[in-house]
């Protein structure tokens, strides 16, 4: 069976408050800084509050979504007086934790997010990163407090737009449901458990453990669906149907209800059997997404271990 070796993963960064109103990450980073956590065994830990003014204002962002600022093109653009705050901040974070794609970048970057959707713990990463997938496998096997799933995004590194792509390996830890501006203890405890298990995995990895390969289930994006809207005004004319609401990761079949118009009629899913995610995520109303659609895949992982020389 295939085995892949990696250099030690000794530099770990945890980011929170990339969206200033997603509170688990804000309080996680504040607590890590209060405890002055900077090293656990072989792993040095950096904690960063990504978007301080948005955190202070308890808003998702000040001028533009920070978590869309990390494509190669946006990172390398010119900085002028007109550059929006988040673009400038993205470049600062890239200098501090990256640069993206270079040898100086942190080995693993975990960015903590919350969603109003009922997604429990969802780890998000780009393409088939064996390290990220093994950490997912490990967390899923150890966490009993909530389901753990993985969303594998398709973009190539240059087009990867989110903060975790700055690290050599990156995982966004998305936990919900939690309203914006609220910190729920049960959700915080899940985030803490996921971060602690990640650090535990890194230490085991660095100390020479081999993590066996195998099969894991994951989801990959296929598309998204907007709300029904009034053709003249663009205003939303329906709510997510009660049978879809809170049923992230439950298969949608043709004919299943997806929207309930305010006038009472039902709109149904057409097309293939797919898995909905980010169902009724509040930040996506402005992005014209009522829910995202994914397909379920099985990924075969090689075993991994640290390079021994």
């Amino acid at each position: 069976m295939e085995h892949v070796s990696f250099l030690p993963l000794s530099r770990f960064a945890v980011c929170g408050g990339t969206h200033g109103n997603e509170m688990s990450g804000v309080y996680m980073v504040r607590e890590m800084q209060r405890q002055k956590a900077d090293r656990t065994g072989s792993v040095s830990v950096t904690s960063v509050l990504s978007n301080p003014p948005a955190v202070d204002a308890c808003r998702r962002y000040m001028e533009t979504d920070l978590n869309r600022c990390f494509t190669d093109a946006l990172l390398s653009g010119p900085t002028t007086d007109d550059t929006p705050y988040e673009l400038r901040r993205g470049r600062e974070l890239n200098a501090q934790l990256g640069p993206k794609g270079s040898r100086e970048a942190v080995d693993l970057l975990c960015d903590i997010h919350n969603t109003t959707a009922n997604m429990a713990v969802c780890l998000i990463f780009y393409s088939f990163d064996w390290i990220a997938l093994h950490i997912y496998k490990y967390i899923q096997s150890k966490m009993t407090s909530a389901p753990v799933r993985a969303l594998c995004l398709n973009e190539p590194p240059s087009e990867a737009y989110s903060l975790e792509s700055v690290g050599k390996h990156g995982i966004a830890i998305e936990v919900g449901p939690q309203p914006t501006g609220v910190v729920r203890a049960d959700i915080f405890n899940m985030v803490k458990e996921a971060v602690d298990l990640t650090i535990e995995w890194l230490q085991k990895f660095n100390s020479g453990s081999t993590f066996e390969g195998g099969e894991v289930e994951a989801y990959t994006p296929v598309g998204s669906v907007d709300y029904p809207r009034d053709p003249t005004t663009g205003e939303i004319t329906a709510a997510i149907h009660p049978q879809l609401q809170d049923n992230d990761f439950k298969v949608l079949r043709p004919g299943d209800p997806v929207f309930q118009l305010f006038s009472g009629e039902t709109v149904k899913h057409e097309g293939d059997d797919l898995y909905p995610l980010f169902v009724n995520e509040c930040a996506y109303y402005e992005k014209k997404v009522a829910f995202k659609l994914t397909k379920k895949i099985t990924v075969t992982l090689p075993s991994v271990g640290v390079k021994k020389d």
Binding site: R30, R34, C58, T116, P179, V183, R184, E235, I236
Partner: protein, 323 residues
């Protein structure tokens, strides 16, 4: 209002308003009122003029709770009285411009008030959502408003076995000047849990049904129906409990998992109340059992409120009939 004989006589409730968007990110009310502004057929009743109204359009536009200051705290006598000629102790930002919500409060008071006068609207329903697990809650501002008590009793019976509880906030220090307070009979309608900026179908439909029953009550009342005396269970606000904070005012603990989502359930001395970020439990130290609500409401972090405590009371509503 005569209280001799068997019924209290109350004036016909001919002018009614439904306020949405008092907080611009509480989506059920925004959506319902926008629907009814376009087509008000659903809210028409004989002998009642019902006006749907967006109270804070700029906040709705931004999908934020408010622009300058909380509209639902802005209807104080000082704010409503303030003009350039009576500067008093209201401070206006540079340029002599009042905060947007204070201007709105004055405008709303002109249209639906003046607050406390005979010209004021009879009933105003103010639609709100909360991130707390409060279910359907009617908010009462006076234990002596027999019309409102009778309406709330009617609504509770109409939606049974589904639940609709009554929160009474008459506390001299904790009560506040709401937008609905311009009316003779102010009714707050709070439905949760729903995140800010999100529209949940079940929450939206629940609010819609409650308003239907409320308007049915008003129609029956205006037609001359007498409502016999009844007892209404209410939860009376006692106190407000803040999060534990450090010397810099930062929150150092979260609502405990055992208390989270347990609105209206008894909280006994010794029960877990908060969990610090490093995992320790902080327990409720009160003298007796209370019934907490507004547990972990997003908007109340800045108002120093993790939850409010209440006690259960049975209020007797006099029989009422229209004048």
């Amino acid at each position: 209002m005569s209280s001799y004989g068997s019924s209290v006589r109350v004036a016909e409730a001919s002018r009614v308003a439904i306020f949405g968007g008092t907080h611009g990110n509480e989506m059920s009310g925004v959506t319902l009122v926008n629907l009814w502004v376009k087509n008000s057929a659903e809210i028409q009743r004989k002998r009642v003029e019902t006006k749907p109204f967006i109270t804070n359009p700029k906040a709705v536009e931004k999908c934020s709770r408010y622009v300058d200051t909380d509209l639902n705290r802005a209807f104080t006598p000082e704010n409503l009285r303030y003009t350039r000629h009576t500067a008093g102790n209201v401070s206006a930002p540079a340029g002599d411009e009042l905060p947007y919500e204070v201007q709105r409060a004055q405008e709303i008071n002109r249209i639906f008030g003046p607050k406390g006068s005979p010209e004021a609207y009879d009933v105003v329903f103010d639609l709100h959502n909360t991130t707390s697990n409060m279910g359907c809650t009617l908010i009462l501002e006076s234990s002596k408003d027999h019309f409102n008590l009778q309406m709330m009793n009617y609504i509770k019976k109409a939606i049974a076995p589904a639940s609709c509880l009554v929160l009474l906030n008459e506390h001299p220090l904790l009560k506040y000047s709401t937008s609905r307070s311009v009316a003779k009979h102010p009714v707050g309608l709070e439905v949760g849990p729903q995140p800010q900026g999100v529209l949940r179908s079940n929450i939206f439909e629940a609010m819609r049904v409650i308003l239907k029953h409320a308007l049915d009550f008003i129609e029956l009342f205006n037609e001359g129906m007498e409502f016999p005396t009844c007892t209404v269970e209410v939860f009376r606000v006692l106190d407000r409990i803040d999060y534990p904070r450090d010397a810099n005012g930062n929150i150092i603990a979260m609502v405990h998992p055992n208390l989270q989502d347990c609105d209206w359930e008894p909280l006994n001395p010794g029960d877990p109340m908060f969990q610090s970020f490093d995992g320790k439990t902080i327990r409720y130290q009160g003298l007796g059992t209370v019934f907490p609500t507004f547990i972990n409401e997003a908007a109340y972090y800045e108002k120093q409120q993790a939850f409010v405590t209440t006690r259960r009371e049975a209020l007797v509503a006099s029989a009422i009939r229209k004048v």
